[in-house]
């Protein structure tokens, strides 16, 4: 019984693995990031500023701002390319729902809901 020619097989496999690694590199470099909402930053000055930090492919962002006492009509910004929002609103308790989605994908969406007790901080204070 003749044996296995391990050396010959090894060199062929080595060549093959190099091709596998090139393919892997291509896949990794071209892989779209997975949609993820990392953080919602809220800054209170004389406006309520919201920045949505999310990862994904060709992102769009939106905010729903709800006055928890119902005195003010809910603000729905609709999706926009910018991740930064600024609201000139009266002091009060609000619910902020921050959304992020990928433009090319209809069903992709991540969101986070945050309660905010907003009190304007005036510049000359």
């Amino acid at each position: 019984m003749a044996g296995v020619n391990w050396e010959k097989a090894y060199h062929d496999l080595e060549d093959h693995i190099e091709a596998i690694m090139r393919e892997t590199s291509d896949l990794v470099n071209n892989a779209a990031p997975k949609l993820k909402l990392n953080e919602v930053y809220i800054t209170k000055t004389n406006t309520l500023d919201v920045i949505i930090d999310a990862t994904g492919d060709k992102m769009e962002y939106a905010i729903d701002l709800i006055d928890r006492k119902g005195k003010m009509e809910t603000i729905k910004t609709g999706y926009q390319k910018s991740n930064t929002f600024s609201f000139e609103i009266p002091d009060g308790r609000y619910s902020v729902t921050a959304y992020a989605k990928e433009s090319a994908k209809d069903n992709s969406r991540v969101f986070e809901k945050i309660s905010v007790n907003f009190k304007r901080v005036l510049n000359d204070e």
């Binding site: 019984m1 020619n5 097989a9 093959h16 393919e23």
Partner: protein
């Protein structure tokens, strides 16, 4: 003497292309006087079928076991073997076991990662393959190794190429069986009849490939055409791309800009291929994984000069610049140079075309293969 073939699929009127190469064999065996019954292993309850004079039975492993107990076959022939297909043999008393011939074609006897291209479409596919590593691939390897090393079986193995054996199967299984033969898949030289090529035919380039997985390397075909488009003579060339599969549009869309590249999306029946071969001079068939390269061989048989890669079993059938042109793995520039060479050396192209047809017929023509297989099936049993 009666022979039984056990396989995973066999062509029927409803599915003409399931392992059609097995039917080609069976018809040839019949013509040589061998009586062969067919059993397709399946868990479905299916009635017997008749196709082109061949009786096909459908059984699970337990039915095969019962069938073998009451039917005496001198030799059982296995294609795409697995443990379930072999169960019936195991259930027979040792002195009642028939002679066994096992054909090793590809996936059933090589490492799963050799076909890694097939698992890269999404993460779930890759995870599934990794999961099957333990549950399917490892037991299959142990099974092949077991039947290759047992001394209670009168068993022979047929590999479709020497390089397939040495590069893929041997290191995967870790052993070499005592009795084996290298017998290639049939290149049907009656269907793929040689037609002499003219110098102008070298400017007509075709490819007929599935577009279902990356191992078929159709992306390389696309890149080769794009690189060739920078040549002054590009517009003199004509390309016809035939095939079907989920990758067809994705890969070929970028070629729509070229007037001389014709895209033919759709499954090509085997009977239609010779006519396509007749109209072309070069077969562009890059590959990342092949135990033999049957479509390349069929093109050669028709007189086309193959341009492909020196991987797997392919170099066993194509001698560079004699019967075709070989580039190293994934090497687009080399393939472009090879087509450039054929364009600039019309006389050599014609010579290679004739040599390719002659060589493949001698190596894997219908009669050559069938005579070798019948020799293995009928002779040399202890």
């Amino acid at each position: 003497m009666k022979y039984l073939m056990i396989c995973n699929a066999y062509p029927t009127l409803q599915n003409l292309y399931a392992n059609s190469f097995l039917h080609r064999r069976v018809k040839a065996y019949q013509q040589k006087g061998l009586e062969v019954d067919i059993v397709v292993i399946t868990t479905k309850v299916l009635k017997d079928k008749y196709y082109d004079g061949v009786h096909i039975k459908y059984m699970d492993e337990y039915q095969i076991a019962s069938y073998l107990k009451v039917n005496d076959y001198s030799t059982v022939l296995f294609h795409f073997i697995n443990k379930k297909m072999f169960y019936g043999i195991e259930q027979l008393e040792e002195d009642r076991r028939p002679n066994i011939v096992v054909w090793l074609h590809g996936f059933e006897a090589e490492a799963w990662h050799r076909r890694y291209y097939n698992f890269l479409e999404n993460v779930a596919q890759l995870d599934n393959a990794l999961e099957r590593k333990e549950t399917v691939f490892k037991p299959q390897r142990e099974f092949i190794r077991d039947i290759m090393t047992r001394d209670d079986l009168n068993i022979k193995f047929i590999y479709v190429s020497q390089r397939f054996k040495e590069l893929y199967v041997d290191p995967y299984v870790g052993v070499v069986p005592e009795k084996y033969s290298i017998i290639h898949n049939i290149i049907d030289d009656e269907l793929f009849e040689y037609h002499k090529k003219s110098a102008d035919d070298r400017m007509k380039i075709c490819t007929i490939r599935p577009f279902t997985a990356r191992n078929y390397a159709n992306d390389i075909t696309v890149d080769v055409i794009k690189q060739l488009s920078r040549k002054k003579y590009f517009n003199k060339l004509e390309f016809n791309i035939y095939g079907d599969g989920k990758l067809f549009n994705v890969l070929t869309n970028s070629l729509r800009q070229f007037d001389n590249v014709n895209l033919h999306k759709g499954f090509v029946k085997q009977d239609d291929i010779p006519e396509i071969h007749k109209q072309h001079g070069i077969y562009l068939g890059p590959s990342r994984h092949d135990s033999q390269g049957v479509s390349l061989g069929e093109a050669m048989s028709s007189g086309l000069v193959p341009v492909t890669n020196a991987i797997g079993g392919i170099p066993e059938f194509i001698s560079h610049k004699e019967t075709g042109m070989l580039a190293s793995r994934d090497n687009v520039s080399e393939m472009v140079e090879h087509i450039d060479y054929l364009y600039k050396h019309a006389r050599n192209f014609k010579k290679m075309s004739a040599q390719a047809a002659k060589s493949i017929k001698k190596q894997a023509g219908l009669n050559v293969v069938i005579n070798k297989e019948i020799e293995v099936i009928t002779n040399g049993w202890s």
